[in-house]
Symmetry: C2
Subunit: 365 residues, 2 copies
């Protein structure tokens, strides 16, 4: 079995962070806390200097020996910066990832086996490296979006690094990622802002209105207090998914309105009861693993397979604790090894069988 860790150079694994703001700075801190040597650049040299002073990076500038480059620039420039980085880092061993909140535009613009799109679902309402935190990703979900051109080893190496900083990796296709974040992040943000603006406008007529706003209203509008500047780009980049979800939300609110207008107590109780159960069942942070099972899947040794299988596992919500790719000596076949929660293993094996794979399972713990 191939050991996927890259060789350490000079005693340290080496990374570059491009864009040393809140997320880039946190990535730098998290890697440095785990012994990495981190270089960093920023369009604004003063920002990179601040990141150096804050301990987010070891060195201002690029590092051509780096095995990992994390592009953490604003969404609008991500694709072009990723392409530049790939052009400057010519070695076949480098892995380049990004942290943009919308994945389809970036992955559509980059066709390089060394690139794997990513999105850490973490952050804070702070802006810039002053809010950076080496533990920002502990327990957070970090989506990776491998595609058919992604090199399986690049994906596995990035996966391992992301896990090492405490995040739970979920692999999804870029399109799936964008559809799902529209539901759980983008549309909720727009709805919170809309609700806040509606109440704010009405408060101009009824000054007492906002004094009646108790905990529920405060909770529902909290995200609307966040920095607005990142959102126009996010909304435009993910416009198709957002409008689809907004249309559905508007239709569902219209149905709720009809239940209220029609005095449909049973319908209201049923809808609100369903919501209460769903909300109470919402998973909290990282799950605690039960027994672990190793699922071994013989695969043809070409790039698209790992993307296919890992996004299949992501779609099924299988919690993958570890992943390796064992290459055969002949070079055209390999074995993908997934370590998953026992309760997920059978589901995963069935889904793999349905796709024509033969998965063998072995209980590890």
């Amino acid at each position: 079995m191939t050991e996927l860790r890259a060789p350490r150079r000079g005693g340290h694994r080496r990374a570059v962070v491009v864009g040393t703001g809140l997320i880039g700075g946190s990535v730098g801190m998290a890697l440095r806390a785990r012994g990495w040597h981190v270089s960093g650049t920023d369009q604004d040299p003063a920002v990179a200097g601040t990141a150096l002073a804050a301990g987010a990076i070891d060195h201002v500038g690029d590092d051509h020996d780096a095995e990992l480059v994390v592009v953490a620039t604003p969404l609008g420039s991500t694709a072009s910066v990723v392409r530049e980085v790939l052009a400057h880092h010519r070695g076949p061993e480098v892995v380049v990832t990004d942290v943009a909140a919308v994945k389809s535009p970036v992955t559509a613009a980059v066709h390089d086996p060394r690139f794997v799109g990513g999105h850490p679902m973490a952050g804070s309402e702070q802006v810039g490296v002053a809010g950076a935190d080496p533990d920002m990703f502990v327990g957070a979900t970090w989506v990776l979006t491998p595609t058919a051109v992604t090199d399986p080893d690049a994906f596995a190496r990035l996966r391992s690094v992301v896990s090492s900083v405490g995040a739970e990796v979920v692999a999804l296709s870029p399109q799936q990622h964008d559809a799902l974040v529209a539901v759980v992040s983008h549309v909720p943000h727009l709805a919170a802002a809309t609700l806040m603006n509606m109440a704010g406008t009405m408060a101009q007529e009824h000054a007492a209105l906002l004094r009646l706003a108790a905990g529920g209203f405060r909770d529902m509008t909290r995200v609307a207090a966040g920095e607005p500047h990142i959102w126009p780009d996010v909304c435009v980049a993910n416009a198709a998914a957002i409008t689809r979800v907004l249309d559905r939300l508007i239709a569902d609110l219209g149905a709720m309105r009809e239940r209220v207008a029609g005095g449909d107590r049973a319908g209201l109780l049923s809808e609100l009861g369903r919501a209460a159960l769903a909300r109470r069942a919402l998973p909290v942070g990282g799950r605690v693993p039960g027994a672990l099972v190793e699922v071994r899947v013989p695969v043809p040794d070409h790039p698209g397979v790992i993307a296919h299988i890992s996004t299949l596992a992501g779609t099924l919500d299988c919690n993958i604790f570890d992943m390796e790719i064992a290459h055969s000596t002949e070079g055209d076949r390999g074995v993908m090894v997934l370590v998953v929660d026992a309760e997920d293993a059978e589901r995963l094996a069935r889904a793999l069988a349905a796709e024509g794979y033969h998965a063998a399972r072995q209980v590890l713990s």
Copy 2:
């Protein structure tokens, strides 16, 4: 000047709580903590017994010497219970109030100068007296809804009791109350449930969806986890205001959708920026008073006046720290004394002048 406190009988002021659940139990505890003798009844005798054991009441049963009766039964039965209580407590000195979340139906059904509608904007996700808390109302807003038939002394006495348990009193007309809670409570609750159900339904197709739900989504849907059983009655009782607000929310979300679909970055930034400012400015709990000003308003001594002036102050969001009514010896004129925040005093005086009152102001502190 008339002292508005009722005489103490047997060393204790006496109250009755009808319906000894979460809110009724908390009212009982809050009054007992301030030296009151509290009797309590509940449709379910076991519930009243539990309230007694929990220290929410001193005695199970009615008390015809009580100066205050708080009806804390479910919304659907509030009006009929209030009418029963008024019929059984024939003394002119008793004040009867309720805690129902919708005020128009109750106040429309009760025409008695001794009744003042109320709504403490407090509570928890717990149910029953087990969740009762003597400090539940500290810092909370407690709306009172006097009408033209309300006895000014009854209102002033209730106001004083509600203030004594730590709540901030806001006087509004029943219709204003219902319009405003539709905006800050009822529609947000329905929107949270709708969002949760939409995401829950989509999660059946995309199992990973809810793992991507970070803090913002959790915040926005938190209220949807609450007990659903109270909501059908609330929605139906306040259907007119709720449908009006839902229509506006749906229209506003539609406008937001058009900004997204049209790539209107400037419009999105403007809306989200406005929401961020409004959310950051949302008042937190009770305000700290600055200098206090006494506003003295000569008034004709009839019931509608106090409702008119106090709801005017409520509508203007004036923070009233104390209120008294000084009756003239002749009986047909009086002076209403309002103690307000200095920054509110001028605004209040101007609004009173516009309504034909002559308000004199004097700085107290």
